[in-house]
Amino acid sequence: MDFFVLNLLNGISFGMLLFLIASGMSIVMGLMGIVNLAHGALYMVGAYVGWTIAVHYGLNFGLAIFLGGLSAGLVGLMMERAFLRRLYKQPNEQVLLTFGFVYILTNLCIWIWGGGPRLAFTAPGLSGLIQLGGMSYPITRIAIAISGVVVAIVLWWLQDKTRFGAMIRAGMDHKEMTMGLGINLERVFMFTFFLAAFIAGIAGVIGAQLLGAYSGLSIDTLLFALIVVIVGGMGSVQGALLGAILIGIIDAFGRAMFPEFSMFTMYLVMIIILMARPKGLLGRRA
């Protein structure tokens, strides 16, 4: 029983981190049709910046989260405005471009922070364990899960309850019509891309408590983000959440039961979903 509960909790908390990573990517994919392969790199930027603020300068952890998000957001914004926007009608080239940025951003981070081992950090006050019904559980994981829930609620509110969210959903369903209604889709794109990058950045800082900061993050988190988006479906917060929790749980139990084959299981699930239901479980893109 303990085994089951422990892994379930691990799965859910990791899943919430995956949600933080993948939600932005999912919305950008659904809205702009762009597979931003550099999304993991944005996460990595956030993680490194967060480490610098929280550990290197020893400043407030909340500030680290904010600045991590902001720097990732600005990098993402630059990518969109200066590069992706110019390739509007060429989706292939856009994807290739984002992949070029993975190399550039990863190497830049190595240049600035060195290619050494993982930089680990934990928010002060969040280290240690908490007692959950006879079991000890790391507070950091709970904090991650809670952050995930908070972001999920905010995003869901944004998606379903605000005009901006309505514009995004309209843009996903029918681009031409939305533009025809006088909605400045370009601005919506720009802001959405920034938001997605911002979330990736704060995810980087929050998740660093679990994953640390290292240069391999750009590819490792990309892998997970892609799997989550494929399984859960692109374009909706609900999809990203469902996919993330599912994958988190599969990963947790997979690692506990067949450690060498956990990644293999991930890719297999991804392939099966792509074949059976390419739009994912709750996919939204028209």
Binding site: V35, F83, Y103, N107, I230, F264, M270, M275
Partner: protein
């Protein structure tokens, strides 16, 4: 080109002929003679460039000509390489005449198996599924003990293949000429394929697939066939790479390796014969020279070149070269421009 065509060609004025074939003649001469005069270390890099030119040409078949953007082509490169490596390491079969066909077969079978899976979807989803399939093979290579030499990931310490000629041993230059012969065969085959009705059908699929179906083409079948052929060529490159490199690691199946032919084709020019070759030349040699001066910054340089090529050099280097060539030939030849 049939005998009749050849006769026709010969009848044309010799100056025109020379100009039309000059790029290929010059290229051929360089490929044949240059390595003999290069210093040893550059000879080896030159060999690597030719091997990756085959890999890049294989990718151009599916991306440049057919429009299939795959993020997992290294799966076939690695499949061929691992097949040859495993033959040598586990079964002691290092005869080239067995290793090469076997590796090509394994790579082609892998492509035949993955093809129906990948081709069920298109666009963004095709990108993701090819990525996942490549990574799947990578994780298999990482985890299955049989595919690694004990104590490491992958297989190292392989020697060059046997030619079956007693007393023969490879030198850098003889190995290069072996690779060059294979390259020239591949180049010729791809030249034929891309100029055939099948090759033009691929271009049609790239430009307007629904139209092709209405014209009578079973586009899925065309895509499947070229996918397998491309996988076979990629596998051949992988085999040559194992012979050259004397080792193979799981990373040769992963997305990082898949990225290389993509960069080469973009930089050199997609949908052309020479584009991938030029791209391979540029990438391999810039990598080499970068590694001499700033080894850690190489991925940054590669990424930057790649981004610049996508943004500003549409059509790649080969388009600019061919325009330049047309201007030269127009000035000096009697060809209508």
């Amino acid at each position: 080109m049939g005998i009749a065509r050849l006769k026709e060609t010969i009848k044309q004025p010799w100056r025109e002929q020379l100009i039309r074939f000059a790029p290929y003649i010059v290229g051929g001469v360089i490929l044949i003679l240059l390595p003999a005069v290069l210093p040893l270390y550059l000879r080896s890099i030159w060999t690597k460039f030719v091997i990756f030119a085959i890999f890049a040409m294989s990718y151009d078949l599916i991306y440049g000509y057919t429009g299939l953007l795959s993020l997992g082509h290294a799966a076939y490169f690695g499949a061929g390489g691992y097949a040859a490596a495993v033959l040598m390491f586990h079964y002691g079969i290092d005869l080239l005449w067995i290793g090469v066909p076997f590796g090509i077969l394994i790579a082609a079978l892998t492509a035949a198996a993955f093809g129906p899976i990948a081709l069920r979807v298109s666009g963004m989803y095709f990108l993701l599924i090819t990525f996942a399939l490549g990574q799947l093979l990578y994780s298999i290579a990482w985890n299955v003990k049989w595919l690694s030499k004990p104590g490491m990931q992958g297989i190292a310490g392989l020697s060059r293949p046997e030619l079956g000629i007693p007393g023969f041993s490879w030198s850098t230059i003889s190995f290069y000429y072996f690779v060059l012969v294979i390259f020239l065969i591949c180049f010729f085959l791809i030249y034929r394929i891309t100029n055939s009705p099948f090759g033009y059908a691929l271009r049609g699929i790239r430009e307007a697939e629904p139209r092709m179906r209405s014209l009578g083409y079973n586009t899925w079948l065309h895509k499947y066939i070229v996918y397998i052929i491309s996988g076979a060529f990629a596998g051949l490159a992988g085999i040559l790479f194992v012979y050259y490199n004397n080792m193979i690691v799981p990373a040769h199946l992963a997305v990082g390796t898949s990225f290389l032919p993509m960069v080469m084709v973009i930089i050199g020019g997609s949908g052309t014969l020479l584009g991938p070759v030029i791209g391979s030349l540029v990438v391999i040699f810039v990598e080499y020279f970068a590694s001499l001066f700033t080894p850690e910054r190489w991925p940054l340089i590669l990424g930057a070149i790649f981004v610049i090529a996508i943004m500003y050099a549409r059509g790649g280097i080969s388009i600019h070269l061919s325009r330049l060539w047309k201007r030269i030939s127009y000035r000096y030849g009697s060809i209508k421009s």
